[in-house]
Symmetry: C2
């Protein structure tokens, strides 16, 4: 099998699809739109999960688990939410199979096992959770309720792509309940901030925090905060969202609490989530034509060591030296793999680890043993250097730290150089077509203009940046007055 | 709300149901047979997951993720497996809802959105995984393939109980592929052994490792290994199973590999799993009429500290001392919670932590401050002792260690005293009715006898213990010759 990828310049979309499969991250399954996350891809996702889970717990949240299914009558209780997801719901209607009388050895749905009420496979869990919260919240003493769930959800998308848009995906969804509007808004902002910190510090992906316009909001939310990232092809990717849900779900599910003054109030809510879509963001932010590039924080193996040898004797000598290196690196919490398989040649191993984005590759041969050196190759810059064995541990630590910073810096420079202010619609279309990236432009604040621009250019308003400058201007499309710029882009 | 539980002697089943809900572990949901795992219950499950995951990785396994849905044509490919699960499958038949023209604001299933092929919500994942493995395995170099998945599964059970039998449950399922029969059997035995070690060392639950009889085997397996535990009411509980699947799935899904000799062989398989059912085993093994009792390894909080005070000044003095204790305990990796809420009285707090099984409760009042002492109450024995503050850290460490051992010992003594050898069917029935527990009896090895005994007594063969003694005898029911004893019990 050729490991050579289509280049990004040639066909960015094809490059992405090939990379995901060839780097052993994920593949399509026999189920339309559902993916298999392969062990290497899943190991990266586990690292994201562990870090996010720690950050959620540090901000006072607890995990719980709610049912996969939502009875239709609960699903439709919050009308906007239901309407928003109705067209992409997988629906369970029966609970039993039986032998097919017409096809020996085959099964068919048992027509007598029809459910009285259909069950929706959760596309999101507000309905089932708020129906549960009604029993958990009586008094202000029960608030805030700060809960997160790690789960699979299903949204029957018609056009799917590995990680970016799949019928089933893995995610976390936080669902919190508060006594006041201010507290709920503060929570939504806090969690959006957690996502931004995670994206930038851990995934090395620069993001812009902002608010969605009304038409881009989560169905059922009063306000949606988001983090928006920019991919190398100039398209934006929404990497996480945090919603202030007002009292919409509390009202739909009748969740009231006794306040300190003895009255009854509806509870205020938030929800927030990130998903395996982050894998897509990770891949498209850092990788190159040779394959995956991973920030060291997310690499299942940060270092791989490959012996270069002829015959058993040379291999044994290398094995001895490497066993000490492994111990030293692991004592510094650096994950390292020694690949001394004799079924693969060094060149094939190099190609594999390059494709899979292992940050540092160390090669050791007989000459190195004689000279007390090793060769270190760095995945992001593709540079190599020969270093004395006795400085190896420090060099590795420094290179990993530098790489983490350098990947972020590179992505940040790219992003910042792809935010373009435009003043009229001709410029808007020209920048969008020729340069891509975010377009910072005045907008008159109407749904009609937003829709029209989308129709004409496929660009959507990605967000109204938080802490946006107030700046009087005129809408890039309608010429009507505007008080601030918003960010447009084509998006994943 | 009264926290008082029904006693075990009065009604064991009611005691269990009340405990699960009152200790905030789980509750029933709006979806028939599906539970909500509450934060406190989920925190215990997370501890189990973390330890199991570590043990799986230490034995060379990697995690991955496969689709929730199984197309019907794949589901039915391995006939025995399909037949075994057909009657309890949730089935997705449609992928869209639409506005109900007859009920404004309500939704109905869109009749035009019927799937061409129905999707089964996985009751177990052999089918979808082996269909995937066909693409992953070409050569002996691709073997063994050692993969685990953490997931939710659905089995449409008619009679459900929290944790013990629910329509949806959480579990892990290992699915491995091997070049030889011997390797696959060794893997199935290894993982059953991992489960036994986990149950005994981590959960303090003594288990018997054994083989299932043919009629109790997993549908599609050639051999099922299991760990069987004994609950306090004398009923057995199957706590984990590990299956040697032979070449059944390889043949059903055409998974062959090029062996070292250049020929093509079908792959050998195992699968193994434990689920949130372990929560039921945990609760029923250790808990008492006052509530949950947790081994320290599984306690979300191993220690809780409750201040006894009047007025702010006393509280501040206690706060100061406690902040040092918290730091010291945490530096020893002991999890501790300081509950200085002023909305609850100490008595209410004591009752809550007793109900929730916190292993050690420390009370500190002004007298303690004056004397340099604290009072420690131990959950399993319900004993209290006053200890000097300066020995506290060591005392806590020792008590936690002792408690872990002591809970196991207590459960082991109970289990061992409830394995009764019987020689005839009158004795069998009498022991089963009056004493309960495992009955060690000779069996003639036939399905007919096994079925008859089950029909007459509700007892099933829990397992044929591994390393069973060979001992000639006659079947307790049929009088036919037998070469070894097997273990019968009524079971969850």
């Amino acid at each position: 099998m050729s490991k050579k990828l289509t280049s990004r310049a040639e066909d960015y979309s094809k490059w992405y699809n090939e990379l995901v499969v060839k780097a052993d991250l994920a593949e399509n399954s026999a189920v339309r739109g559902c993916m298999v996350i392969k062990p290497y891809g899943y190991a990266i996702w586990e690292k994201m999960q562990a870090e996010l889970d720690k950050m959620f717990k540090e901000t006072g949240h607890q995990n719980a688990y709610f049912p996969l299914f939502v009875p239709k009558s609960l699903f439709e209780a919050e009308e906007k939410n239901a309407e928003g997801f109705a067209k992409e719901c997988a629906i369970v209607t029966h609970y039993r199979l039986q032998t097919d009388p017409d096809r020996p050895g085959k099964l068919r749905v048992d027509p007598d096992a029809k459910l009285e009420e259909e069950l929706i496979v959760r596309p999101t869990s507000e309905a089932i959770i708020w129906n549960t919260y009604r029993g958990w919240i009586q008094s202000y003493r029960d608030l805030p309720l700060l809960i997160n769930q790690w789960a699979n959800v299903v949204r029957w998308e018609m056009r799917t792509r590995l990680f970016l848009r799949t019928a089933e995906f893995l995610w976390q969804e936080g669902h919190t309940a508060h006594a006041t509007k201010a507290e709920a808004i503060a929570e939504a902002e806090l969690m959006n901030n957690v996502y931004a910190t995670f994206a930038e510090n851990f995934m090395a992906i620069p993001v812009i925090q902002g608010l969605k316009t009304e038409s881009e909001r989560f169905a059922g939310a009063d306000e949606t905060y988001c983090i928006e990232a920019l991919m190398q092809d100039g398209k934006a990717l929404q990497a996480g969202t945090s919603h202030f849900l007002g009292q919409n779900f509390a009202k739909a599910f009748d969740v009231k609490f006794a306040n300190k003054e003895g009255g009854q109030d509806y509870v205020w809510a938030t929800s927030w989530g990130v998903s395996t879509r982050l894998m897509g963001a990770l891949i498209m932010t850092h990788s190159d034509d040779n394959g995956l590039v991973l920030p060291p924080t997310l690499a299942p193996n940060q270092v791989v060591i490959v012996p270069i040898y002829k015959g058993e004797e040379e291999l044994h000598a290398i094995d001895d030296v490497v066993s000490g290196i492994l111990k030293d690196l692991r004592s510094k919490n650096i994950s390292v793999k020694y690949d001394n398989r004799d079924t693969q040649r060094p060149g094939a191993k190099f190609a594999q680890y390059e494709l899979q984005g292992v940050p540092l590759r160390i090669a050791i041969g007989p000459k190195d043993l004689a000279n007390g050196t090793v060769e270190i190759a760095r995945r992001d810059t593709l540079t190599k250097e020969v270093v004395p064995m006795d400085t190896l541990i420090d060099v590795v630590g420094n290179l990993l730290g530098d790489m983490q910073k350098s990947l972020f810096k590179k992505a940040l420079d790219f992003r910042d150089s792809h935010i373009t202010e435009v003043e009229n619609f001709e410029e808007f279309k020209s920048v969008l077509e020729n340069k891509g990236g975010f377009i910072s432009a005045h907008w008159d604040g109407t749904k009609e203009t937003e829709e029209k621009i989308k129709e004409l250019t496929k660009a959507t308003i990605r967000c109204i940046p938080l802490n946006n400058n107030e700046e009087a201007g005129v809408c890039v499309y309608s010429g009507k007055p505007s008080k601030e710029r918003v960010l447009f882009a084509k998006a994943y």
